[in-house]
């Protein structure tokens, strides 16, 4: 068994919101991205890209390979199919991993995180300590990532440290 809990911040991510135009489905958007998209709230990883369903016809798309021209590039590729908004500087993304990660996250969200209800590939948009969050589970360690608005990252980290101290 690995560490009980490791917390890190993901940096240098390219992040964008992709909103499908009326009548354009997840398959059409996924074909352009080259990554199968979740039809509902979910996380999918397709090589360079990962995508999180955040609402009907709406995804948060992320890449590890730099924030530079990511959103601009997507905007060009989705012309006529979807609207793209650059979020690279808008979200701070925290990674929580280890067997205490589920307990920690469960202290904050009123969504059932039991493995039977929330598994690798699951995602949700909700609130932790009055802070809007988007989070998803990546593996059985379990590893989660939590995206919060960057201006609230300090408040989120305060909640996280307070809860982690009680584990």
């Amino acid at each position: 068994m690995g560490e009980a809990l490791t917390v890190s911040e993901r940096t240098g991510l390219g992040i964008a919101t992709v909103m499908a135009r009326r009548g354009v489905d997840a398959a059409a958007i996924g074909a352009v991205l080259g990554c199968a998209l979740p039809g509902g709230p979910g996380w999918r990883n397709g090589g360079d890209l990962s995508a999180i369903g955040t609402g009907p016809g709406t995804w948060l798309v992320m890449t590890e390979t730099g924030s530079g021209d990511f959103a601009e590039d997507l905007t060009q590729r989705f012309r006529g199919l979807a609207s793209v908004t650059d979020q690279s500087s808008a979200y701070a993304v925290f990674r929580l991993s280890g067997h205490d990660a589920r307990t920690l996250l469960q202290r904050g969200v009123s969504i059932d995180l039991h493995p039977a209800a929330f598994a690798p590939g699951s995602a949700a948009t909700s609130m932790i300590s009055h802070i809007g969050v988007i989070f998803w589970q990546m593996d059985d360690a379990p590893t989660y990532e939590v995206a919060v608005f960057r201006s609230l990252a300090g408040s989120f980290r305060h909640w996280l440290d307070s809860v982690a101290a009680t584990l």
Binding site: G40, P41, P56, S126
Partner: protein, 83 residues
């Protein structure tokens, strides 16, 4: 109280903003505008109401709820409910 969001699933009511009766439709002209803006039924029983999932998928939904028992009979995206 928990509300079933068609996209997100069951969520705490604190994530939603209440808008009220989903029945009124905006009239084309001035006739009927007063009723549309101001008049609402005060129903005891089953009612279709608009809720906004502000802390979730940020979609408007229509929830069918019994105002006496708080029993919930279903929900749909408001965009699918347009006449």
């Amino acid at each position: 109280m928990r509300l079933p969001c068609p996209y997100c699933g069951n969520r705490d009511a604190a994530e939603f903003v209440y808008r009220g009766d989903a029945a009124p439709r905006r009239p084309d002209g001035e006739a009927g505008m007063f009723d549309y803006v101001y008049l609402r039924d005060n129903r005891a029983g089953e009612m279709r109401e608009l809720w906004y999932h502000a802390q979730g998928c940020r979609n408007w939904i229509v929830v069918t709820r019994d105002t006496v028992t708080h029993e919930i009979h279903g929900s749909e995206l408001a965009r699918d409910n347009k006449r």
